[in-house]
């Protein structure tokens, strides 16, 4: 494997500013055997990580009569599965519910977390620490452990089978991430910028909207995409708080598909692929910021 003469550690390539001095010749781009092995292993692993999703796509393209064939690829590709699934099953309703829940939860999270994050980042106040602790603890509590309590609460409020309930609950369990990442972002923007704008005659609110918000945009985008994805993927609360099939989110609808007598796997995965692919693409945009949000900043 490695010898003592070569660089043993990581090289923080991406952190380097674009115009930095060229690196010494030591890291010249020659393909040493070691690099070759690393490249091969990394690409192989990448393929393995994508493989289950590729198999879902292949299954989604299989004609019904080729589902039981022991072939890696079907003879014919049935692209129409992607359209038929919405017509032949009730999953269209579920997709609509999921869109409403994810959209609603995202808007709600942003509406309540932005002011809180702004205030927490800018001001010292009594209870600031307790507020942040409450937020942090919420982030660690997942709905699964509280399911029975959630069910009892919304049963008593007569709010089962309501899209609003799932918007509220999804928003609540994603608040922490949003507050956390927005507070960190806004806190990193000097308050002097706002004050300068205010000297120029802008109101504090105007300064907040026109100066701070645009600068905090990466944080806002991260919070929005993360909340949307998590609500989009949510399963246990949908399963517990909605019992009527047409009021359930897509994850639950897809899971119900398996309970059916004969599972139409091609349709099931056509719907799954539609649900998965956009989310993976969206996630790629925020990947850099997510870790610090999820670990509450304890890992930069």
């Amino acid at each position: 494997m490695a010898t003592a003469t070569q660089t043993a550690g990581p090289e923080p390539v991406e952190k380097q500013p674009a115009g930095s001095a060229p690196r010494p010749t030591r890291t010249k781009r020659t393909f040493r055997p070691r690099t070759l092995v690393i490249t091969a292993v990394a690409w192989l692993l990448a393929a393995l990580f994508l493989a289950p999703y590729l198999e879902m796509i292949v299954t989604a393209l299989r004609p019904a009569d080729e589902l039981r064939d022991r072939t890696y690829l079907p003879d014919k590709l049935h692209w129409s599965n992607f359209i038929d699934v919405w017509k032949e099953s009730s999953l269209g309703d579920n997709l609509q519910v999921t869109l409403l829940i994810s959209g609603g939860a995202t808007v709600l999270v942003l509406l309540v977390s932005l002011p809180a994050a702004y205030y927490t980042a800018r001001m010292r106040f009594r209870g600031r620490k307790w507020f942040l602790l409450l937020v942090l603890v919420t982030q660690m509590f997942q709905p699964t452990a509280l399911l029975v309590g959630l069910y009892r609460e919304f049963h008593q409020l007569d709010m089962l089978n309501s899209v609003w309930t799932l918007i509220l609950t999804n928003a609540a369990f994603n608040l922490a991430f949003a507050v956390w990442i927005l507070t960190a972002y806004i806190g990193s923007i000097p308050a002097e910028l706002e004050e300068a704008a205010m000297v120029d005659g802008t109101s504090r609110f105007g300064a907040m909207i026109r100066v701070t918000l645009p600068l905090a945009l990466p944080g806002v985008v991260t919070a929005v995409i993360f909340t949307f994805i998590t609500s989009w993927n949510e399963f246990v609360m949908g399963l517990t708080l909605s019992t009527e099939p047409d009021k359930q989110p897509l994850t639950v609808g897809i899971n119900n598909f398996i309970g059916a007598y004969t599972v139409q796997w091609n349709y099931l995965f056509a719907a799954s692929v539609v649900a998965i692919v956009p989310v993976i693409v969206l996630f790629a945009f925020i990947e850099r910021h997510v870790v610090s949000g999820l670990t509450a900043g304890s890992v930069k």
Binding site: P10, T144, L147, R152, L294, T295, V299
Partner: protein
């Protein structure tokens, strides 16, 4: 901690006069309604007799807990929950250490391969689990086909049909979906190690393994610990994988406490609540550990 308290500042405008309430109250209210209330409701329900229709039939004292602890499956479920959590988190951490090291190297296509790695993180855990259920199916599962073609098995097996083979596969899926977050956390941790530390080690003539043991691992400790605790919480709560793949069956042979709780909900919600309280207590312990490990409070 990235959220240092801002410097004390005197504000001229309305910000200070109104105090923090209008800013943070919506967040606090949402958390109280959707996170704190269910906790109280959960504990209350565990001491009540409630009919299947949801009508309260008086107090049950500690009967529900007694009934829960007397369940023949209870000890078995508890044991497997511990095994499930420890094995999945242990394997995840070990594999992630290797992955982080690999993806921290420079090689062609690093960005693309890293991107492939996030797929299981962004995609719904439920749908990934359903994908594996399909790939493991006896009739046409591609994993069966691959293993037959490789000569690993003679004929197709019903992997999820018995606990002995279902557990390892479900653990595999749990590790698979936990790897991206963990690897990215460790990658973030690796980025915080200054390059000159490695330079110094190189000049001192330290070998690659020596450098890794002596420098990388100790400096990676904070990120590693945070990764362990967050994974413990996630894996302990990972209901969708088991629910999608075996529903905890046959019987309760492949159930963890969260799955067991969900199954009990169908027959006796009080007993299910008692199980939840036990789960919740375990999560609280894990959260307390997280607060300690993430060094909450250190700089504030």
């Amino acid at each position: 901690m990235s959220l240092k308290a801002p410097p004390v500042r005197r504000t001229r405008g309305g910000l200070a006069r109104l105090g923090p309430l209008p800013w943070i109250a919506p967040v606090v209210l949402l958390i109280l309604a959707v996170v704190v209330w269910p906790v109280i409701e959960l504990i209350r329900t565990s001491f009540l007799n409630i009919s299947i229709a949801g009508i309260v039939r008086g107090s049950a004292g500690t009967d529900k807990y007694k009934k829960l602890f007397d369940e023949t499956d209870f000890g078995h479920v508890l044991l497997w929950t511990v095994l499930w959590t420890v094995v999945v988190v242990g394997v995840t951490m070990l594999v992630s250490l290797g992955l982080a090291q690999l993806f921290n190297q420079r090689f062609p296509g690093r960005r693309i391969t890293r991107w492939a790695l996030i797929a299981p993180w962004a995609a719904s855990v439920l749908m990934t689990a359903i994908g594996f259920k399909w790939m493991l199916s006896r009739t046409a599962g591609v994993l069966n086909t691959v293993m037959i073609d490789l000569g690993l098995i003679d004929r197709s097996k019903d992997w999820l049909g018995s606990a002995g083979t279902a557990w390892p596969w479900m653990m595999f899926v749990a590790v698979f979906v936990s790897l991206p977050f963990t690897t990215y956390t460790l990658l973030a941790g690796l980025q915080t190690i200054p390059a000159d530390v490695y330079e110094a080690a190189r000049i001192d003539g330290a070998g690659a393994w020596q450098t890794y043991r002596g420098i990388t691992l100790p400096l990676l400790r904070p990120a590693f610990l945070v990764g362990v605790v967050i994974n413990l919480i996630n894996v302990f709560n990972s209901f969708p994988i088991i629910w999608a793949m075996t529903q905890g069956g046959p019987g309760s042979d492949t159930a963890t406490t969260t799955v067991f709780m969900y199954k009990l909900k169908e027959t006796d919600i009080g007993e299910s609540a008692a199980m939840s309280v036990v789960n919740f207590a375990m999560v609280v312990v894990l959260v307390l550990i997280f607060l300690k490990v993430s060094r909450w409070n250190e700089e504030d």
